[in-house]
């Protein structure tokens, strides 16, 4: 029999907390503020006789006698502090997280089990190749799997994130044209692009040329034909684009670029719509980058790290970053003799633990399962779009893929902005969608439910947004003051950006 809550209240209720000595920062004291002189969490082992002090080896000038200001706490205090902080997180594992363009999809537990296998988790990245054959075989198979999914000829798993994949792709484009002794310094980018695209171009030394999408929200081949010339090195396209629309003229765009000697770089940020359904390689892409932390269910955000493999067509293969795997009579090893490679992007072999997780995901779902996941992601986005169309109409008349971009008239009708709608969603236990992006849509709400969310979850999300819509008309101040349920309500984003305080400082005594 279960004890009822009412019968076990024998604990003396805690007195009301006395006013804090410290200013409440975010409702939870900082670890520095919990510190108490002389308190300690653990005792280190005594220094054995004959072992030199650090200061004797390094020199006294490099060692501090006293760690002034270093927090001093007991072990339970530390545990409670960090556990409490972790509970303040908004997590995909706790709540619905329809953050458009970011594909905050569920991270299956199986992935974690596989990555924790001692053979993978305990493997030192500098282990000699003959002792790491299992890991290398996983990488070889992952390369082949991603090549199959994207329709490309060769894949590098080295990039540590999507943006690094972009940079690698652009450096390869530069190396490709240089090898052919062609001077091409421009890259075409659509006006709907993610901000990383122009940033990566600039970092790789290219000049950005903006292509305008049409009123329906997609790129016309005629516009690309107009912009393409013999000083254009490549075009970067995200497909589906950031309006959630599949670019219908992508093949003609690829032709227009190829005719002038330019390359097509496909940003795979939105590949969650295409797995097992369409291959970028078949639509003329020369380079594709994938974000394993989006499309392939590895953790995204603070829990990362990311992984941004790139796939290429055969003619670009010599330029792929190091390291490159090669199969020999004695098994797999790394090929170090690659004169045309753009070189290393980072230490060792990419974020290997993420490759294990992503490979587990692919094997668990299989080809048909991946295609079904993409179809469900598309279905979910279109379901939300349709259910909300009266109050939050779509920014485009084109069919949505895995995400939908909605807008609203509350700014005009009630003076309630998209930001305020997003803040209010927090009170419903829902992470807000991406807002004010893409920039071509005024007051955009960019919603990506992902494939794993049930109809009940989607319905509750729709109901929350509808309720906020009505609240905004009935009582705009209610929405403008939200959120009410979080530890911190509104932070002063403008002040934080204008005058950032980047570290804690003790109060003047």
């Amino acid at each position: 029999m279960m004890a009822t809550a009412g019968k076990i209240r024998h604990i003396t209720p805690a007195p009301e907390p006395t006013p804090r000595r410290i200013e409440p920062v975010a409702g939870v004291p900082l670890i520095f503020e919990l510190s108490c002189d002389g308190r300690r969490g653990a005792d280190g082992p005594p220094r054995p006789d004959g072992v030199a002090r650090g200061a004797d080896i390094l020199g006294r000038e490099l060692c501090r006698e006293d760690l002034a200001g270093f927090p001093e706490l007991s072990e339970p205090q530390v545990l409670r502090h960090f556990l409490r902080l972790s509970q303040l997180n908004f997590a995909q594992a706790l709540q619905f997280y329809p953050l458009g363009s970011c594909t905050m999809k569920y991270n299956p537990v199986l992935n974690e089990e596989m990555a924790a296998l001692p053979g993978f988790a305990g493997l030192h990245p500098a282990a000699p190749e003959h002792l790491a054959q299992g890991a290398l075989v996983l990488m070889e198979r992952m390369e082949a799997t991603l090549a199959e999914i994207t329709g490309m000829d060769a894949v590098s798993l080295a990039p540590a994130a999507g943006a690094q994949g972009e940079l690698a792709g652009l450096l390869m484009i530069r190396a490709f044209h240089r090898k052919r002794k062609e001077l091409r310094h421009k890259v075409i980018i659509p006006d709907t692009a993610h901000g990383t695209n122009p940033a990566s171009c600039t970092l790789a030394g290219f000049q950005v040329v903006v292509a305008k999408s049409n009123k329906r929200g997609f790129l016309e081949a005629a516009e690309i034909r107009r912009l393409a010339s013999n000083d254009v090195a490549a075009m970067m396209v995200t497909n589906p684009n950031t309006l959630g629309i599949f670019e219908p003229e992508i093949r003609e765009i690829a032709d227009a670029l190829h005719e002038t000697g330019a390359l097509l770089y496909l940003d795979g940020a939105n590949m969650n719509a295409l797995l097992g359904v369409a291959k970028p390689g078949a639509t003329g892409a020369d380079i594709v980058q994938l974000n394993l932390h989006k499309t392939f269910s590895t953790p995204h955000g603070g829990g990362g790290p990311g992984a941004g493999p790139i796939g290429v067509k055969r003619r670009l293969e010599p330029f792929l970053p190091m390291p490159r795997l090669m199969r020999t009579a004695d098994g797999l090893r790394f090929d170090t003799d690659r004169a045309d490679s753009i070189g290393r992007l980072r230490s060792y072999h990419g974020n290997f633990g993420m490759l294990v997780r992503a490979y587990a995901y692919v094997l668990a779902l299989g080809g048909d399962g991946l295609a079904e996941a993409s179809r469900l992601a598309i279905l979910g986005a279109n379901y939300v779009r349709k259910r909300l169309e009266e109050k939050f109409p779509s920014a485009t008349s084109e069919p949505s893929m895995h995400e939908c971009v909605l807008t609203h008239d509350l700014e005009k009708r009630a003076g309630v902005s998209t930001l305020e709608i997003a803040k209010r969603l927090l009170d419903f236990g829902i992470h807000p969608p991406t807002i004010y992006f893409p920039l071509v849509v005024a007051g955009a709400l960019m919603i990506e439910p992902t494939e794993t969310e049930s109809r009940e979850i989607l319905d509750s999300f729709v109901a929350a947004l509808e309720k906020i819509y009505d609240e905004a008309l009935d009582d705009p101040e209610l929405v403008k003051g939200a959120p009410y349920s979080t530890v911190v309500s509104r932070v002063d984003e403008a002040e934080a950006a204008r005058h950032p305080i980047l570290r804690w400082q003790p109060k003047e005594q």
Binding site: G195, K412, L419, Y436, L439, E493, A494, A497, R498
Partner: protein, 129 residues
């Protein structure tokens, strides 16, 4: 939305006030309102050349990062030095203390392509539809 008489306006929402051949350039009240709270402004240096319809600076708000386009061609003769420290002035006083740069114009006929109070008011009205 404030749209003062006597200024010239560009379709990219910059305003221009002229005194002989020097044009003072800023962004309009509508532009600052659309951007939201401005947190960072990047401006050219005195002596830099700007060309009509090309970006000469960047304005970053809590919502977005946008280019600022030169409404006229010429040489920068003065830059609002207060803005890097206090970008909020552009929100508070876009036509006054929030001015961005002063440009010695190459060709005053550049001004003929800009809008007056009535034309710019119509543009804003159309954008709001």
């Amino acid at each position: 939305m404030e749209i003062p008489q006597g200024l010239k306006y560009s379709k990219e929402h910059e305003w221009v006030a002229t005194e002989e051949s020097v044009a003072t350039v800023g962004i309009t009240d509508h532009a600052q309102d659309q951007l939201g709270e401005i947190v960072y402004i990047e401006l050219p240096a005195v002596g830099d050349k700007v060309s009509k319809d090309d970006p000469f600076g960047v304005v970053e708000s809590v919502k977005a990062v946008s280019d600022i386009y030169a409404p006229v061609s010429g040489t920068v003769v003065e830059v609002n030095e207060d803005l890097p420290e206090s970008p909020e002035v552009v929100n508070e006083d876009p036509y006054g203390d929030g001015w961005l740069i002063k440009v010695k114009m190459n060709d005053p006929t550049d001004l003929d392509d800009l809008m007056d109070h009535e034309e710019y008011s119509e543009l804003i009205a159309r954008e709001k539809e």
